[in-house]
């Protein structure tokens, strides 16, 4: 019997410090066994449990795209026991990955549509996965608009990647910071304000919105005003999890389990559920 609780061993290939305050690091992981890598078939929006023997597990969104073969990327914020330990680990060390888990973004539904990605802070991880996936399959999607904000230029994730995307003409990238500095020549302003400026059309489009609660709270009305319907606004939730497979009982939002029925929900779905997230 396949035991869904057993993590598969991976090696840390590289650790990238993403932000100036060093609270966010990206871990590039590679499976030790080829068959585990082949079995780990995922879609942007899914997550996995990262396992460190003796410390525990944490659910983290997959930041790499399935089109980036041979490795997985996870961007981890340092908050608790497992993440603090992870931040102190080095390339070459062995840990575990269990997954992929959860319901992904509805990539097939997005095909042929215009896609608007709105992200804030360190919630940009599975959005990075989605953008990388769409760019690798560029002809299958309509216009791609990205609005991504962080507190300061130094708090932006994936800076090199953002530069590459900036240079392309098949993606409309709008990076903004709450507060600029002398080196910053880009947009300054909160994500909802920039969304208003960019005013993405709701026609034949989906929006993927992921960020801190305050950003979501003020971005939603902007989109609704622009004519977006709750069915086309797609969000991703976070809740405390253990099993990741709908059994252990803690991540539920009403009858839905964030781990198994989510983490991806439409705003229309969330409007029918308690705000227990």
């Amino acid at each position: 019997m396949n035991n869904p609780y057993i993590p598969k061993p991976v090696r840390i290939e590289e650790i990238i410090t993403e932000t100036e305050d060093r609270s966010l690091k990206t871990f590039r992981l590679a499976f030790l066994n080829k068959e585990d890598e082949q079995a780990f078939s995922y879609v942007p929006g899914q997550f996995a449990e990262l396992s460190i023997a003796g410390k525990g597990e944490i659910p983290i969104g997959i930041a790499s795209s399935p089109t980036e073969e041979g490795y997985l990327l996870f961007t981890v914020n340092k908050v608790g026991i497992v993440t603090s330990h992870l931040h102190n680990m080095s390339a070459g060390e062995i840990m575990g990955v269990r997954g992929p888990l959860g319901k992904p973004y509805p990539i097939n539904e997005l095909k042929g549509k215009n896609v608007v990605i709105i992200g804030g802070g360190f919630a940009f991880t599975t959005l990075r996965s989605t953008i990388a996936y769409m760019l690798a399959n560029r002809s299958e999607f309509g216009k791609i608009t990205v609005i991504y904000g962080a507190r300061t230029p130094g708090m932006l994730l994936y800076k090199e990647q953002l530069k590459e995307w900036e240079a392309r003409n098949d993606i409309d990238l709008n990076v903004t910071v709450d507060k600029g500095d002398e080196s910053w020549s880009g947009k300054v302003g909160f994500v909802p304000t920039v969304t208003k400026e960019v005013a993405p059309s709701a026609e034949d489009a989906y929006a993927l919105v992921c960020g801190p609660p305050i950003m979501i709270k003020f971005t939603q009305p902007v989109l609704i005003k622009l004519g977006w319907t709750p069915e086309t606004i797609i969000m991703s939730l976070e809740n405390r999890m253990k099993c990741g497979i709908g059994i252990c009982g803690r991540c539920n939002v009403g009858p839905k389990y964030t781990c198994k029925d989510g983490p991806v929900f439409t705003l229309a779905e969330l409007n029918e559920l308690p705000k227990e997230y």
Binding site: P4, A53, T83, I94, G96, G246, I247, G249, R250
Partner: protein, 345 residues
């Protein structure tokens, strides 16, 4: 299959002792003032003459603390930092299970096997497959029993392989499954049933079924929208006395929430799962400190909505079997029947 036999009460201890030679035997045993399910090494330890145990027998299928895997962090070891599954559990028989608790196993079955290999709980299912459940009918249900509310009965056979009916100096042994039959095969003790015992068992059953009070209705809950029930003003007062102590969740035959924790001494460790409870604030608290269910009211509401609304939505049945333990053990006399009455209005 169904086959009726009888066994003298004095032969039960011998039968259980014989079974211990083949597998783990779990039965109600006295521990201090409490009657609890636990392993017996000698059949005479089993106490079948009392009302139901303080805690449900779910521990036999879903242990309160269970080793999931082992690991070493010793750098010299070839498999350092990789998780190794624990060995398969032993065969077991759970003896003297009341029909409500057996119905509870069927609810746990739904949770721990939600279809598709990625959602099958290996630990539970391995144990379940190797388990035989021998039930004991309830001649005298308690005032807190309400199994009849959910299609149960003091002599219900759902989830059982064998049902025993106490007819005085004997038990009538109703063999319900092949697994049940296999446990009795070649054993001394059970013999062919006599018509007098069968008739007596019938009478006892009839009077017991009558004595279970018409319980609670849950028929309207499923039709209500989640948010209608969630925002119902009844929660504002119902929760007030609750201390979030969690005894209702620990004693419940269907509560199944758990935590996963690593424990290690030096370089050798285990990954454990331990019962957890929706009554505790840490249960849902994020690493950031944010808590989606920060108040007692949130947690109280969650337990009842989960059992009677969410579970119905997901599995088409409520997650309550009417054993009444939470009513008997609650230190502030919260009665699930009253709560459900409010929800079902």
């Amino acid at each position: 299959m169904m086959k009726e036999m009888v066994i003298d009460k004095k032969d039960i201890a011998g039968l259980l002792t014989e079974l211990t030679g083949e597998m783990t035997v779990i039965a109600p045993v006295r521990k201090g003032d409490n009657l609890l399910f636990g392993p017996v090494s000698d059949g005479s330890e089993a106490a079948l003459d009392s009302v139901n145990t303080r805690l449900a027998p779910k521990d036999a299928l879903f242990p309160q603390c269970e080793k999931m895997m082992t690991f070493t962090t010793d750098r010299q070891a070839e498999d350092a930092h990789t998780m190794q599954d624990v060995s398969e559990p032993d065969k077991q028989v759970i003896f003297g299970v009341r029909p409500c608790d057996a119905a509870g196993f069927l609810i746990l079955d739904k949770v721990f096997n939600q279809g598709g290999a990625e959602y099958e709980d290996t630990y539970y299912l391995r144990r379940r497959e190797k388990t035989t459940v021998v039930g004991l009918g309830c001649n005298k249900p308690l005032s807190t029993c309400f199994c009849a509310s959910f299609g149960g009965s003091p002599f219900g056979t759902d989830g059982l392989d064998i049902l025993l009916t106490d007819v005085g100096d004997k038990y009538v042994v109703t063999v319900l499954t092949d697994k049940g039959e296999a446990r009795l095969k070649g054993k001394s003790g059970p013999s062919e049933a006599d018509p007098t015992s069968i008739e007596k068992a019938g009478q006892i059953k009839e009077s017991a079924v009558k004595s279970v009070k018409a319980g609670i209705a849950t028929d309207k809950i499923k039709g209500k929208a989640t948010m209608e029930l969630f925002d119902d003003p009844c929660w504002d007062t119902l929760y007030e006395t609750c201390m979030n102590c969690g005894v209702c969740t620990y004693s419940c035959p269907t509560c199944h929430c758990f935590d996963i924790q690593d424990e290690a001494i030096d370089t050798e460790g285990v990954r454990m799962r331990n019962w957890d409870s929706c009554m505790f604030s840490l249960f849902t608290r994020h690493g950031s400190g944010h808590n989606p269910r920060p108040t007692k009211k949130d947690r109280f509401r969650q337990r009842f909505l989960h059992k009677f609304k969410y579970f119905q939505d997901n599995f088409d049945t409520v997650a309550c079997v009417g054993c009444g333990r939470c009513i008997r053990l609650c230190p502030v006399n919260i009665d699930v029947r009253q709560v459900v009455e409010e929800m079902n209005r």
